[in-house]
Amino acid sequence: MMTGIKCCIKKDIKETLRTGKVLLFTLLALGIAVMIMGFTLLFTDIPDYLAMELPGFDIESLESMMRTLYPREVGGSLGVFSYYIGFFYSLIIILACNNIIPKEQKNGKWILPREQGYRGKDFVTSKCIVYGSLAGVSVFVTYMLYYFVACAIFERTITFGNAFFLAILHGFNIFFILDFTLLFATWFKSGVIAAISMIGTVLFVPDIMNILPIGKYLPTYLLTFVYDARSDYGSVVGPFLINLIVFIATYVFAVDRLDREERNSLKRG
């Protein structure tokens, strides 16, 4: 079984490299980083420009609003960056990958490998490892790059250790978001259902959950933890474990569905 997963991983690494997924994931994360850095530098200078052009304009409130939206300090700026990653990056990778597994299955790409002993579990596990890692690592690397650049430009309000922890956590968040998408797509045999449920969860649930007292125990808390660039690490243990349990359960359900299909197809009437 391990050989099957290993060979699938090797194949999927080639897939991400040759179908442009590595490029997409990396450039997307870097693009968001450049965009946020650009917004912060550009928009926070707008009030000064307006003060010159429009005498009597309420510059102070605009300045304060801009500095709230795009803070010129490392922690706050990282928070904005991670929010955009959580929002746009997640959205695009969900839409780029939601149909990978159902499409392969429907197109009959598994028929010949299955004849040679591969199992559905091998394909799904490998996709989760390769695609999840690619997304997670590109977010981790971009987060750290952003941190170093921000430190050089803005006031440093966050330690390296804290940034490193937040980068790892955000990498895991994106890893889980993508893997949940892949597993839901396998479980429900539909990329559309997987995309809708994950986009809903990632984009809207964190804000709703923040209002509720149980919100800090749910996996979506991990996203808001990174958005707020917090450092009370103990508070992420509970939601992280719950996230892990939900992930394992989803994996088991998805793989069980494939196993049942395989068993049924081998039963003779």
Binding site: K14, G108, K109, I111, L112, E115, Q116, S265, R268
Partner: protein, 289 residues
């Protein structure tokens, strides 16, 4: 011996297969013939375990179909789909789980493909050959090919036919479906015609080819059939001026000579005489349409 017994399959209210039964000898090529929608692919999917039958059994060799003898059967679907970003050798290595580079090279050689060829850039014929190589990875005893030549040009079809003949020479049992009857005619030992959910006729192609041939005689005017029957008892009237005479299976040459002699004695103007040998197409027209 492959034995398919009473296979039934229903999709909703539509019964596609109503008890399909046939047997195939080891080391032979069996052709499954039927028009589009006759249930050939459904039957193949059932035989390979991709689809569950509503009834009946499939015996693919030593024991009834099951996970144990899975590798003894290879199945190539009509439109095989590959990971097209891989190369030919990478794809076969993937199927072999990186375990046997020698086998990979042998398979590429057998189907006439070079290594390092990106699948995305390959023609349909080349992909079909790669599909056959992929099916042979585990050296199965029984190989099922669904429409292996349907999307190919004449050169591609000839390539596939040659590969199938090689497989037969190696003692493999091959079951193939196609609507290109000329392919069946030239390579199959036996053919089964699938129509209305059952095998309506089975033909031993080699024997039929030896035994059956007909002469088509066209006269300038309507011939005197009573006189003609004296020389050619097995005749069928095609139209007013044309008759079809079936030659004696036991002694085709002599039968042909005596008919020609008789036609000469009749002293009626003949516009054409043509001979027609065994044709799957005729049987297809008769039993499937």
């Amino acid at each position: 011996m492959v034995k398919v017994d009473g296979i039934r399959k229903t999709f909703g209210a539509h019964e596609v297969l109503k008890g399909v039964s046939f047997e195939i000898k080891e080391g032979t090529i069996y052709g499954l013939i039927g028009k589009n929608g006759a249930g050939k692919t459904t039957l193949m999917n059932i035989m390979t375990g991709l689809l569950e039958a509503n009834g009946g059994t499939v015996d693919m060799g030593s024991s009834a179909w099951g996970i144990k003898n899975k590798s003894s059967v290879g199945y190539l679907p009509d439109l095989p789909n590959f990971y097209d970003y891989l190369t030919t050798d990478e794809y076969l290595d993937f199927l072999l789980m990186d375990s046997n580079p020698v086998r990979r090279n042998d398979l590429l050689k057998m189907v006439g493909l070079s290594s390092g060829l990106r699948i995305r850039t390959m023609s349909r014929g080349m992909k079909q050959r790669l599909g056959i190589a992929a099916v042979l990875v585990n050296d199965p005893d029984v190989i099922l090919l669904d429409e292996p030549t349907s999307a190919l040009d004449p050169a591609g079809r000839a390539d596939v036919r040659n590969i199938l003949m090689k497989l037969k020479a190696e003692g493999k049992t091959v079951i193939l479906s196609t609507h290109i009857l000329a392919d069946m005619d030239s390579i199959c030992d036996k053919a089964g015609f699938l129509s209305q959910g059952v095998i309506v006729r089975e033909v031993d192609i080699a024997r039929s080819r030896e035994n059956a041939s007909v002469m088509i005689v066209t006269f300038a005017v309507q011939p005197d059939l009573d006189t003609l029957r004296k020389y050619a008892p097995n005749l069928t009237v095609e139209n007013q001026q044309q008759v079809k005479i079936t030659l004696d299976k036991a002694d085709r040459l002599h039968s042909q000579q005596s008919i020609l002699e008789g036609l000469g004695k009749m002293q009626q103007e003949i516009t054409s005489i043509s001979s027609k040998s065994f044709s799957l197409d005729d049987i297809f027209q008769e039993v499937c349409l």
